[in-house]
Subunit: 215 residues, 2 copies
DNA sequence: CGGGATCCGTTACGATACTG
DNA sequence: CAGTATCGTAACGGATCCCG
């Protein structure tokens, strides 16, 4: 077996990059921050070669960042150590929003992309007494749940009952998460509230707090 | 000219990785966060191949993260955009300290490594009225200067006059920056104050504040 | 059918030698 | 000193194949 490539530098940044610095690795972690995912979900969502995904999953498992809760069924999820990559990904997202995107980068990327930015955005302002919101984008759904230990954003259908359910389009979703849209305009023009309209004002207040704090 | 490889995903994280995700790129930026550096300094400090360094410097310049202030003399430095990578690197360092390091990763890595962790550590607690500290490690020196806009950590000899100059060894330096050493023990046992002993108590107070806030 | 493993052409990396 | 040129090796990427 060929030894894994390493910077072999006595530096915490180099050590981190030895584990999460390979191509695709951080994007795989990004998707797993939206909840457990199966092999094919990851492969299709990222559009990467299957041999590479396989290799990365083995490496991430060996490094203790992910695991298979049930060895028989194949769903991967983050370990507690893997969840600690959230702040790295959040800062990368923050830097990435500063960069112009090429017009050819218009693939309808995986919606799991948005889970982590949403969580980091709402975590400081969403008290544990808050309500559960479900966001629908095309055929996909996010459930945003505040808990005493933090906000949990999960991708895919959920059996929890949301107090507010809303539908929006993908472009608006991106702008919301990237902080490039005014909360008032967002709720007024781009958010179709399907259920729980009585919480509309509270949701708007939450959005304002989130973006006011971040921007 | 071959087109640069890109994830081509509509996601801020993927966009960031298209620019700073290549091998060595973040480590080059790390070193430049310690102040301007010349080609050979970077090459020797990182131990990377010269052709790769050349390629990376061209790419980083094209992306607007670094530039040559004087085209004749060859020193590279961060642009304002490049300086915004500080939080990504800081979070990477934070994650890296959680990982055990292989015993073979014992190269006496570049001291520029430590500039960014030191800055992030002291920035929240070092008021602009604070004093200038110079840290000596072997033949190298850091100058830590608080300014109204933040703490500036610079590698290499500096003509500013420090109020306190101290010498320490590399291993202790790492542990200090990684927060694995008690400030009291650090000052008492591992810090040789060469000049400015009258500021010793103030420096200790500063260290306690820095580590108390972070840990 | 989902979850990988294998194969193979192309690209990137890494070490060294070389040049302005 | 600051890079280019070269070349062997390793990683990537796409496709196909295999196995439960």
């Amino acid at each position: 077996m060929p030894e894994k490539r390493s910077y072999r530098l006595l530096c915490p940044i180099a050590r981190a990059l030895d584990v999460i610095g390979d191509r695709w690795t951080l994007l795989i972690l990004r998707d797993l921050h939206a909840g457990p995912a199966r092999y094919q979900e990851l492969q299709e969502g990222l559009g990467m070669a299957t041999n590479l995904l396989s290799t990365r999953l083995v490496e991430l498992t060996a490094a203790g960042l992910i695991h298979k809760p049930n060895p028989g069924r194949s769903a991967y999820e983050l370990t507690p150590l893997g969840r600690l990559t959230d702040r790295v990904l959040w800062e990368l997202a923050g830097f990435g929003t500063l960069l112009e995107h090429e017009p050819d980068q218009l693939e309808p990327a995986n919606l799991r992309t948005m889970a982590l930015p949403l969580r980091m955005l709402f975590e400081p302002v969403w008290p544990s007494s808050g309500f559960v919101v479900r966001l629908l984008v095309k055929d996909d759904a996010f459930t945003i749940t505040p808990t005493p230990s933090g906000v949990v954003v999960e991708y895919g259908p959920s059996d929890t009952t949301a107090q507010l359910t809303a539908r929006l389009d993908y472009a608006t979703f991106l702008e919301l998460a990237e902080g490039r849209i005014d909360p008032n305009e967002f709720v007024a023009q781009h958010l179709e509230i399907i259920d729980g309209a009585e919480h509309r004002a509270e949701f708007l207040r939450l959005l304002r707090a989130a973006f006011g704090q971040h921007v």
